[in-house]
């Protein structure tokens, strides 16, 4: 089969790949604005009704409109939970609540208002409803008290927290944000790196296609 005859197959392949790419990028979901990278590998303790856990030194990114907290629901279902993002001076930057009746290992709680800029803050979680809520996180690496505490009692570790946008969005709408996150420590910025990567891959694909069409010349 000569090069010209291979062209339609190549074109169909390109269209299929482009369609698959578009379908993946169009997937909708609530995207992360950040996370504290604490792994939910241990139960740090429990939070009884009316008690509040606070975790200091959290970097809450701009654009955060919800927090996913690693909580373990009791068998009968979790009670209502409140969350607050508190600045160093004690000002509440954002807060929210989630009703009772949840299960699983993470609870997503919407925040209002959406954070306008990055904040280093305390994140406080209050068990407002009935039942005892388990706290999932990771023991402090240095064997110390960790950053999470209930009242003055340190829990010996940190709670896993994931910061989310307020609403679901496609990957398309996140492309610029994700690109900016690339290239930690690289002399090129994240966006330039993402563009360069796309160009390299496009060039590789174009060269491959050209060679397939050229045949064995």
């Amino acid at each position: 089969m000569e090069g010209r005859a291979r062209l339609p197959i190549l074109a169909i392949g390109c269209v299929l790949i482009a369609a698959a790419l578009a379908a993946v990028l169009a997937q909708s979901g609530v995207r992360r604005t950040g996370l504290n990278r604490v792994r939910a590998v241990a139960q740090l303790g429990t939070l009884e009704r009316g008690r509040t856990l606070c975790q200091r030194g959290e970097l809450v990114p701009a654009g955060t409109g919800a927090i996913s907290v690693s909580l373990l629901a009791p068998p009968a279902g979790g009670g209502a939970v409140r969350v607050a993002v508190v600045a160093r001076d004690g000002t509440t930057l954002a807060g929210g609540a989630a009703p009772a009746g949840w299960g699983g290992v993470a609870r997503t709680i919407p925040l209002r208002p959406v954070l306008a800029r990055d904040a280093v803050a305390r994140v406080c979680v209050t068990a407002a409803g009935g039942g005892i809520v388990g706290l999932a996180g990771e023991g402090a690496a240095d064997g110390g008290g960790g950053r999470a505490a209930i009242g003055r009692r340190a829990l010996g570790g940190d709670l896993r927290l994931v910061y989310l946008r307020a609403h679901a969005a496609s990957w398309w709408s996140e492309v610029a944000t994700v690109a900016r996150r690339m290239g930690a420590g690289h002399p090129l910025g994240g966006t330039a790196l993402a563009v360069l990567t796309a160009l390299l891959l496009t060039a590789a694909g174009a060269l491959a296609a050209w060679q397939l069409l050229r045949g064995a010349q």
Partner: protein
């Protein structure tokens, strides 16, 4: 004649020799088809793209390989086996990148925030000490050739930060990926000379293999191993097609030396290479007589000289194990033949009734080898969704079926090249056996294992051949469709593999 005139004549003669050598290199390069250069360039571009997307030190053992290079560059020798200790400049970067919480935790991305990046930049400027001990090579005292090669960009970038140097060294690996694909293309040209267009299909299939591109975009001695193995396969394809000559025997010897000095796993290819040399020697003489060993011995002589030198340096000057055995040393362990056989069998195949089962051998072969080949990236902690591996089995089986069809149709030609095929099979079997035995040894020593798909990538030339045969298996009429479909699938696989990396670390 004055002394200065004699000197000028010597300089002129030397310049003439250099010009002649360059002319020979140019002539050799001109004999390589342009398609081969294009495929190699595709591999370099693709591996570079992977190197940019994969965050620093997020490829298996990369911090330790960096440390080894740093030691070679600063001390002019490989490190002696010692307990792990990173230099302060590398240690602070691994802490700032929060590697401890990112490696093995696919739910965690790399550092994103401005504050974290600012701290990384600040610490890189502040902590410059390169006083490490060469890394964690008590178990795996790898040979120094790859690290010596990487010491060149490391040294050229003196004064640059750890991450700038890492980015530069990754580019050298990307170039090695190109050298590998060039070797694969030329191997396919020699071994499967009919239908030249299909060589491109095989070489591009390798260039777009995500696992290969991931490794090619990282700091890892496997890259030199892959390149050397590809050219070793090429050397034997040429020998079996054109005969064993002193020059080709010397080339095999040089490749054996390079491989031995690149990574210990190369030892797995040596038995197959020895068999190949013996078969080629006998074929050249027409019978098994002492003269048939002349060229194989030449190859071994060329291979032995640098290997012996490094062995001598290991013992006399570098305080390292003579043969760099490390993980392959059986001192202090008590392997048994029966258990060893059972382990090696189960390393690749389902267990037979009554076989001994060690807990570390209860992994599913499909999970490690097939899923690993389709894609387990980073520190083998980044996976596609489960359904992707199931769907990937469909084109994999179709490719295999087409390949079998081509082999059945060409069985007469196969019979005529049986000796050559046995040598390729011996090269593959030796590597498979070595990886399994090294893993068995690790199991006995500390209850671990070494089952990773990347260890089989020295067999990439055979993977390329499989793709070529699958293309031909479609028949003359559909060959173009099959070939283009294979490359398009490989490209899609590569693209979505790269997107998986992006989503894992940055989304």
């Amino acid at each position: 004649m004055t002394a200065s005139a004699a000197g000028a004549r010597r300089d002129a003669a030397r310049a003439g020799r250099v010009r002649a050598a360059l002319a020979r290199v140019r002539a050799g390069a001109a004999r390589v088809p342009r398609a081969a250069w294009v495929c190699a360039l595709v591999a370099v571009l693709n591996a570079t793209a992977w190197s940019l997307v994969t965050p620093p030190f997020q490829i298996v053992d990369e911090p330790w390989h960096y440390e080894y290079v740093e030691h070679v560059a600063n001390h002019g020798r490989p490190p002696a086996p010692s307990p792990a200790r990173l230099s302060p400049s590398v240690q602070i970067v691994t802490e700032d990148l929060d590697l401890g919480r990112v490696i093995g935790a696919p739910e965690n991305g790399t550092i994103w925030s401005r504050a974290e990046r600012a701290r990384l930049a600040r610490d890189q400027a502040r902590v410059r000490s390169e006083r490490g001990n060469g890394g964690s090579y008590a178990d795996v005292p790898e040979p120094p050739l790859y690290y010596a090669l990487e010491a060149i960009p490391f040294t050229l970038a003196r004064g640059a930060t750890v991450l700038d140097r890492l980015a530069l060294m990754r580019l050298v690996s990307a170039l090695l990926a190109g050298v590998t694909v060039l070797g694969v293309f030329l191997f396919l040209r020699e071994a499967l000379p009919a239908h030249p267009w299909t060589w491109t299909v095989g070489a591009l299939g390798v260039a777009f293999l995500p696992l290969f591109a991931l490794m090619g975009g990282g700091l890892n001695p496997d890259n030199l191993l892959y390149a050397t193995a590809a050219w070793l396969f090429l050397a034997f394809a040429r020998i079996f097609r054109r005969g064993l000559t002193p020059r080709r025997a010397a080339a095999v010897g040089a490749l054996l030396a390079t491989g031995y000095l690149a990574k210990m796993n190369f030892v797995g290819l040596v038995p197959g290479a020895l068999l190949g040399l013996l078969v080629a020697g006998v074929r050249a003489e027409g019978a098994l007589r002492p003269r048939a060993l002349r060229l194989p011995l030449l190859a071994l002589g060329v291979a032995a000289a640098p290997a012996l030198l490094v062995t001598l340096l290991n013992v006399a000057a570098w305080d390292r194990p003579a043969f760099g055995l490390g993980a392959y040393s059986t001192s202090g362990v008590h392997p048994t033949l029966g258990h060893g056989f059972d382990y090696v069998w189960q390393f690749y195949l389902p267990p037979l009734p009554g076989m001994w089962r060690a807990s570390a051998t209860t992994f599913a072969a499909r999970d490690v080898w097939f899923d690993g080949f389709v894609g387990r990236f980073g520190w083998i902690d980044t996976r596609f969704a489960g359904w992707v591996y199931d769907v990937a089995a469909i084109p994999a089986l179709a490719t295999l079926a087409l390949c079998v069809r081509a082999l059945v149709r060409g069985r007469r030609a196969l019979r005529a090249r049986l000796a050559e095929l046995i040598v390729y099979a011996a090269l593959a079997a030796g590597l498979l056996l070595l990886v399994a035995l090294a893993s068995y040894n690790l199991l006995l020593r500390r209850g671990g294992g070494a089952a990773e798909a990347r260890y089989l990538l020295p067999l990439l030339p055979l993977y390329g051949a499989l793709l070529v045969l699958a293309t031909r298996g479609a028949g003359r009429r559909w060959m173009g469709v099959a070939g283009v479909a294979i490359v398009m699938l490989a490209f899609a696989h590569d693209l979505f593999g790269l997107l998986l990396e992006v989503s894992r670390y940055y989304a």
